[in-house]
Protein backbone atom coordinates (compact mmCIF):
# COMPACT_ATOMS: atom_id res chain seq x y z
CA UNK A 1 0.00 0.00 0.00
CA UNK A 2 1.39 3.43 -0.84
CA UNK A 3 0.36 6.83 0.41
CA UNK A 4 -1.57 8.88 -2.11
CA UNK A 5 0.69 11.91 -2.83
CA UNK A 6 -2.36 13.95 -3.86
CA UNK A 7 -3.50 14.06 -0.21
CA UNK A 8 -1.51 17.25 0.34
CA UNK A 9 -3.80 20.27 0.33
CA UNK A 10 -6.91 18.17 0.77
CA UNK A 11 -9.45 19.20 3.40
CA UNK A 12 -12.39 17.52 5.03
CA UNK A 13 -15.27 19.78 6.09
CA UNK A 14 -16.59 19.87 9.64
CA UNK A 15 -18.62 16.73 10.25
CA UNK A 16 -20.51 15.86 13.41
CA UNK A 17 -20.81 18.26 16.35
CA UNK A 18 -18.90 17.29 19.52
CA UNK A 19 -20.81 18.28 22.68
CA UNK A 20 -18.37 18.86 25.54
CA UNK A 21 -19.85 17.41 28.73
CA UNK A 22 -18.78 17.95 32.33
CA UNK A 23 -18.40 14.25 33.02
CA UNK A 24 -16.23 13.84 29.91
CA UNK A 25 -13.96 16.64 31.11
CA UNK A 26 -13.73 14.98 34.53
CA UNK A 27 -13.11 11.54 32.98
CA UNK A 28 -10.40 12.87 30.64
CA UNK A 29 -8.77 14.86 33.45
CA UNK A 30 -8.62 11.75 35.66
CA UNK A 31 -7.24 9.74 32.74
CA UNK A 32 -4.27 12.11 32.36
CA UNK A 33 -3.91 12.28 36.16
CA UNK A 34 -4.85 15.95 36.32
CA UNK A 35 -5.95 17.20 39.71
CA UNK A 36 -6.61 20.90 39.12
CA UNK A 37 -10.02 21.75 40.66
CA UNK A 38 -11.09 23.77 37.58
CA UNK A 39 -11.50 20.42 35.74
CA UNK A 40 -13.80 19.01 38.41
CA UNK A 41 -15.60 21.73 40.36
CA UNK A 42 -17.78 24.36 38.67
CA UNK A 43 -17.29 26.80 41.58
CA UNK A 44 -13.50 26.46 41.34
CA UNK A 45 -13.68 27.16 37.60
CA UNK A 46 -15.97 30.16 38.26
CA UNK A 47 -13.49 31.53 40.79
CA UNK A 48 -10.98 31.74 37.92
CA UNK A 49 -13.53 33.53 35.73
CA UNK A 50 -14.68 30.55 33.65
CA UNK A 51 -18.34 29.89 32.90
CA UNK A 52 -18.03 26.12 33.39
CA UNK A 53 -15.49 23.31 33.88
CA UNK A 54 -12.24 23.89 31.96
CA UNK A 55 -10.94 21.06 29.77
CA UNK A 56 -7.30 19.94 30.20
CA UNK A 57 -4.84 21.40 27.62
CA UNK A 58 -4.79 18.17 25.54
CA UNK A 59 -8.55 17.52 25.59
CA UNK A 60 -8.87 18.74 21.98
CA UNK A 61 -7.12 15.52 20.88
CA UNK A 62 -10.52 13.80 21.12
CA UNK A 63 -11.97 16.11 18.48
CA UNK A 64 -8.76 16.21 16.41
CA UNK A 65 -8.43 12.42 16.25
CA UNK A 66 -12.07 12.11 15.17
CA UNK A 67 -11.27 14.51 12.35
CA UNK A 68 -8.06 12.59 11.49
CA UNK A 69 -10.11 9.40 11.28
CA UNK A 70 -11.83 10.82 8.20
CA UNK A 71 -8.47 10.86 6.42
CA UNK A 72 -7.14 7.58 7.81
CA UNK A 73 -10.36 5.75 6.96
CA UNK A 74 -10.59 7.34 3.51
CA UNK A 75 -9.95 4.34 1.21
CA UNK A 76 -8.30 6.72 -1.20
CA UNK A 77 -5.59 7.81 1.31
CA UNK A 78 -3.60 4.55 1.26
CA UNK A 79 -2.94 4.81 5.01
CA UNK A 80 -2.67 1.52 6.94
CA UNK A 81 -3.67 2.48 10.52
CA UNK A 82 -1.71 -0.42 12.02
CA UNK A 83 1.49 1.16 10.67
CA UNK A 84 0.80 4.65 12.01
CA UNK A 85 3.12 6.18 14.64
CA UNK A 86 2.32 9.55 16.26
CA UNK A 87 5.37 11.77 15.63
CA UNK A 88 4.40 15.16 17.00
CA UNK A 89 1.46 17.14 18.29
CA UNK A 90 0.65 20.78 18.98
CA UNK A 91 -2.38 22.58 20.39
CA UNK A 92 -2.90 26.30 20.04
CA UNK A 93 -5.80 27.47 22.17
CA UNK A 94 -7.60 30.56 20.92
CA UNK A 95 -9.82 30.29 23.99
CA UNK A 96 -10.25 27.56 26.63
CA UNK A 97 -12.57 24.62 25.93
CA UNK A 98 -15.38 24.62 28.49
CA UNK A 99 -18.16 22.20 29.37
CA UNK A 100 -21.22 23.06 27.32
CA UNK A 101 -19.22 23.92 24.20
CA UNK A 102 -20.46 22.60 20.87
CA UNK A 103 -17.40 22.00 18.71
CA UNK A 104 -16.72 21.07 15.10
CA UNK A 105 -13.39 20.40 13.38
CA UNK A 106 -12.28 21.12 9.84
CA UNK A 107 -9.37 18.92 8.79
CA UNK A 108 -6.59 20.12 6.49
CA UNK A 109 -3.77 17.94 5.13
CA UNK A 110 -0.84 20.37 5.25
CA UNK A 111 2.01 18.07 4.28
CA UNK A 112 2.84 14.67 2.81
CA UNK A 113 6.50 13.75 2.67
CA UNK A 114 7.90 10.40 1.54
CA UNK A 115 10.22 8.85 4.14
CA UNK A 116 11.88 5.60 3.17
CA UNK A 117 9.05 3.33 2.08
CA UNK A 118 6.60 5.28 4.22
CA UNK A 119 5.42 8.83 4.63
CA UNK A 120 5.12 11.63 7.17
CA UNK A 121 1.68 13.25 7.04
CA UNK A 122 0.94 16.55 8.78
CA UNK A 123 -2.68 17.42 9.49
CA UNK A 124 -4.30 20.45 11.06
CA UNK A 125 -7.70 20.47 12.74
CA UNK A 126 -9.28 23.88 13.01
CA UNK A 127 -11.72 23.56 15.88
CA UNK A 128 -14.62 25.99 16.07
CA UNK A 129 -17.27 26.60 18.70
CA UNK A 130 -20.86 26.94 17.51
CA UNK A 131 -23.26 29.48 18.92
CA UNK A 132 -26.83 29.90 17.66
CA UNK A 133 -27.00 33.32 16.01
CA UNK A 134 -30.74 33.74 16.50
CA UNK A 135 -31.72 33.11 12.87
CA UNK A 136 -31.62 29.32 13.14
CA UNK A 137 -27.99 29.23 11.97
CA UNK A 138 -24.83 28.84 14.06
CA UNK A 139 -22.03 31.38 14.18
CA UNK A 140 -18.51 29.96 14.40
CA UNK A 141 -15.75 31.09 16.71
CA UNK A 142 -12.16 29.76 16.54
CA UNK A 143 -11.42 27.69 19.66
CA UNK A 144 -8.28 25.66 18.97
CA UNK A 145 -5.87 24.59 16.26
CA UNK A 146 -4.50 21.06 16.65
CA UNK A 147 -1.59 20.07 14.42
CA UNK A 148 -0.22 16.56 14.28
CA UNK A 149 2.28 14.59 12.27
CA UNK A 150 1.92 10.89 11.83
CA UNK A 151 4.54 8.59 10.41
CA UNK A 152 3.13 5.79 8.31
CA UNK A 153 5.86 3.15 8.37
CA UNK A 154 6.68 1.49 5.09
CA UNK A 155 7.27 -2.26 4.70
CA UNK A 156 10.24 -3.36 6.81
CA UNK A 157 10.33 -0.09 8.81
Amino acid sequence: MTINPDLQGRSYPAAEVYDVGREKIREFARAVKATHPAHFDVDAAAALGHGDLVAPPTFAIIIAQRADAQLIEDPDSGIDFSRVVHADQRFIHHRPILAGDRLVAELHVDGVRAMGGGAMITTRSEIFGLTPDGTGEDSREPVATATSSILVRGEGQ
Binding site: R30, H36, I61, R66, F81, Q89
Partner: protein, 147 residues
Protein backbone atom coordinates in the same frame (compact mmCIF):
# COMPACT_ATOMS: atom_id res chain seq x y z
CA UNK B 1 -3.61 25.63 45.23
CA UNK B 2 -0.48 27.48 44.13
CA UNK B 3 -0.32 31.23 43.77
CA UNK B 4 -0.26 32.52 40.22
CA UNK B 5 3.29 33.30 39.08
CA UNK B 6 4.01 36.90 38.12
CA UNK B 7 5.61 37.24 34.70
CA UNK B 8 7.93 40.10 35.68
CA UNK B 9 9.39 38.07 38.54
CA UNK B 10 10.38 35.09 36.34
CA UNK B 11 13.80 34.45 34.83
CA UNK B 12 14.85 32.23 31.94
CA UNK B 13 16.30 29.02 33.29
CA UNK B 14 14.22 29.14 36.46
CA UNK B 15 12.92 25.81 37.70
CA UNK B 16 9.16 25.39 38.02
CA UNK B 17 9.35 22.05 39.82
CA UNK B 18 8.98 18.38 39.04
CA UNK B 19 6.63 15.48 39.52
CA UNK B 20 6.61 11.75 38.98
CA UNK B 21 3.69 9.97 37.34
CA UNK B 22 3.20 6.24 37.90
CA UNK B 23 1.62 4.36 35.01
CA UNK B 24 -0.16 1.00 35.03
CA UNK B 25 -1.89 -1.01 32.32
CA UNK B 26 -5.18 0.03 33.93
CA UNK B 27 -4.23 3.68 33.39
CA UNK B 28 -3.75 2.98 29.67
CA UNK B 29 -7.16 1.33 29.43
CA UNK B 30 -8.69 4.35 31.18
CA UNK B 31 -6.91 6.72 28.82
CA UNK B 32 -8.06 4.69 25.81
CA UNK B 33 -11.66 4.98 26.99
CA UNK B 34 -11.42 8.67 27.87
CA UNK B 35 -9.74 9.68 24.61
CA UNK B 36 -11.29 7.23 22.15
CA UNK B 37 -7.85 5.97 21.04
CA UNK B 38 -8.26 2.18 21.08
CA UNK B 39 -5.10 1.26 19.17
CA UNK B 40 -4.33 -2.25 20.56
CA UNK B 41 -0.60 -1.45 20.94
CA UNK B 42 -1.70 0.33 24.13
CA UNK B 43 -3.48 -2.61 25.75
CA UNK B 44 -2.76 -5.90 23.96
CA UNK B 45 0.67 -7.48 24.53
CA UNK B 46 0.48 -9.95 21.65
CA UNK B 47 -0.54 -7.25 19.20
CA UNK B 48 2.19 -4.88 20.42
CA UNK B 49 4.99 -7.45 20.14
CA UNK B 50 3.54 -8.57 16.81
CA UNK B 51 4.23 -5.14 15.32
CA UNK B 52 7.78 -5.07 16.67
CA UNK B 53 7.30 -3.16 19.93
CA UNK B 54 8.93 -4.36 23.17
CA UNK B 55 5.43 -4.73 24.65
CA UNK B 56 2.42 -2.58 25.45
CA UNK B 57 3.38 1.11 25.31
CA UNK B 58 1.69 4.21 26.72
CA UNK B 59 -0.22 6.47 24.35
CA UNK B 60 2.07 9.38 23.42
CA UNK B 61 -0.94 11.56 24.19
CA UNK B 62 -1.18 10.05 27.69
CA UNK B 63 2.41 11.09 28.37
CA UNK B 64 1.86 14.53 26.83
CA UNK B 65 -1.36 15.04 28.78
CA UNK B 66 0.11 13.88 32.09
CA UNK B 67 3.28 15.96 31.64
CA UNK B 68 1.42 19.26 31.21
CA UNK B 69 -0.19 19.00 34.66
CA UNK B 70 3.03 20.29 36.12
CA UNK B 71 2.53 23.49 34.09
CA UNK B 72 -1.20 23.73 34.82
CA UNK B 73 -0.67 23.45 38.57
CA UNK B 74 2.21 25.94 38.49
CA UNK B 75 0.19 28.45 36.42
CA UNK B 76 -2.85 28.09 38.71
CA UNK B 77 -5.34 27.95 35.81
CA UNK B 78 -5.53 25.28 33.07
CA UNK B 79 -6.81 27.95 30.66
CA UNK B 80 -3.48 29.79 30.95
CA UNK B 81 -1.83 27.15 28.72
CA UNK B 82 -2.38 28.75 25.30
CA UNK B 83 0.07 26.65 23.26
CA UNK B 84 1.48 23.19 23.97
CA UNK B 85 3.54 21.04 21.68
CA UNK B 86 5.86 18.05 21.69
CA UNK B 87 7.61 15.46 19.58
CA UNK B 88 7.28 11.83 20.57
CA UNK B 89 10.78 10.37 20.43
CA UNK B 90 10.78 7.15 22.46
CA UNK B 91 7.95 4.84 23.45
CA UNK B 92 7.13 4.30 27.14
CA UNK B 93 6.79 0.53 27.66
CA UNK B 94 4.40 -0.26 30.53
CA UNK B 95 4.95 -3.61 32.25
CA UNK B 96 1.96 -5.71 33.27
CA UNK B 97 1.86 -5.41 37.06
CA UNK B 98 -1.84 -6.26 37.35
CA UNK B 99 -2.62 -7.52 40.85
CA UNK B 100 0.48 -5.97 42.41
CA UNK B 101 0.80 -2.48 43.89
CA UNK B 102 3.82 -1.74 41.66
CA UNK B 103 3.46 0.62 38.68
CA UNK B 104 4.33 -0.67 35.21
CA UNK B 105 6.36 2.45 34.42
CA UNK B 106 7.18 5.83 35.90
CA UNK B 107 7.38 9.12 34.02
CA UNK B 108 9.52 11.89 35.53
CA UNK B 109 8.54 15.42 34.52
CA UNK B 110 10.47 18.58 35.26
CA UNK B 111 10.09 22.09 33.89
CA UNK B 112 12.07 25.28 33.52
CA UNK B 113 11.37 28.67 32.01
CA UNK B 114 12.62 28.55 28.41
CA UNK B 115 11.63 32.03 27.24
CA UNK B 116 9.74 35.13 28.37
CA UNK B 117 7.70 37.46 26.19
CA UNK B 118 6.70 40.58 28.12
CA UNK B 119 4.86 42.07 25.13
CA UNK B 120 2.64 39.00 24.68
CA UNK B 121 2.43 38.44 28.44
CA UNK B 122 3.61 34.86 28.10
CA UNK B 123 6.22 32.51 29.51
CA UNK B 124 7.41 29.37 27.73
CA UNK B 125 7.96 26.37 29.96
CA UNK B 126 10.28 23.70 28.59
CA UNK B 127 9.52 20.26 29.95
CA UNK B 128 11.97 17.40 30.38
CA UNK B 129 10.11 14.10 30.34
CA UNK B 130 12.03 10.94 31.13
CA UNK B 131 11.07 7.30 31.60
CA UNK B 132 13.49 4.46 32.41
CA UNK B 133 16.39 6.88 31.96
CA UNK B 134 15.40 7.96 28.43
CA UNK B 135 13.93 11.22 27.20
CA UNK B 136 10.54 10.22 25.81
CA UNK B 137 9.37 13.68 24.68
CA UNK B 138 11.46 16.26 22.83
CA UNK B 139 10.72 19.95 22.38
CA UNK B 140 7.92 19.65 24.95
CA UNK B 141 7.04 23.33 25.29
CA UNK B 142 4.04 24.98 26.90
CA UNK B 143 3.33 28.67 26.44
CA UNK B 144 1.51 30.11 29.45
CA UNK B 145 -0.31 33.44 29.57
CA UNK B 146 0.42 35.25 32.82
CA UNK B 147 -0.46 38.67 34.15
Amino acid sequence: MTTTPILASLAVGQDIGSRSVDVTRTDLVKYAGASGDFNPIHWNEAFATGVGLPGVIAHGMFTMGAAVQLVTDWAGDPAAVVDFQTRFTKPVPVADTTGSPEPGAAIEVSGAIGALNAEAGTARVDLTVVSAGQKVLMKAQAVVRLV
